[in-house]
Amino acid sequence: MTYRPPFIKQGDGSRCQWQNCGCAAHAMAAMRSRLGRNPNNEHGWPPTPSEIRNRIGGGCDGTNLQENAAAVAHLYGVIMLVRYGVPWNTFRSLIISGRGAVVQIRYSVIAPTRFDASPGFTGNHAVYVNERRSSDGAYYVYDPLADHRRSSIPQGPQWWPATLLQRAAYAMPGTSTGCVNASFTRDTE
């Protein structure tokens, strides 16, 4: 069975918490990549959004894939493969073949669904995708906002229909038509 990292929420009270989706998603990706094993270096473990954020530095602007990939490489020795304009079929193959991925999405697609974990938010967001279910093609998605801080907000990872993840990823402004932007873990299978 595919290793499932623990859910790491972005709303943890730390600095820039509501801009830390990329950091939280990469923290979960780092856990997947290391199968939960502590690298036993001078940095903390398990990974936290705040440690990744502090490594990126600067103010509280949103982060991108490259910044987060560089941070987890430095902190945890985790190599993420950032790719842009990934055709959906290729994305599916990468997940099926044993990789996790941080995927960039537009939250306006998620907002009208039961998976909405930040009512009123419609902007750019990052989620961690751990695996695909072969029976219906759904993806096991860790939305860092899904912390059940209110009863209406989902808690932890959820099985998102493939079409929902696909539409949300396609809707990222500036993305090639029919493609996604993502940062992939190593193949752990």
Binding site: Q10, Q19, L81, S93
Partner: protein, 49 residues
């Protein structure tokens, strides 16, 4: 009334995992996809508490 017999649906052939791995490895070797498009703003936005 004649009963129309239905043939069982043929399941879609699934690519073996080796095929997916091969596809994935070949894709990751292509440097073109590692370059960020100039039009892309992939910075995340501030979510709502």
């Amino acid at each position: 009334m004649a009963v129309k017999h239905q043939l069982p649906k043929t399941p879609k052939p699934k690519a073996p995992i080796e095929e997916h791995k091969k596809h994935a490895e070949e894709f990751l070797k292509d440097p073109m996809y590692a370059t960020k498009p100039e039009t892309l703003n992939d910075t995340s936005d501030e979510a709502k508490p």
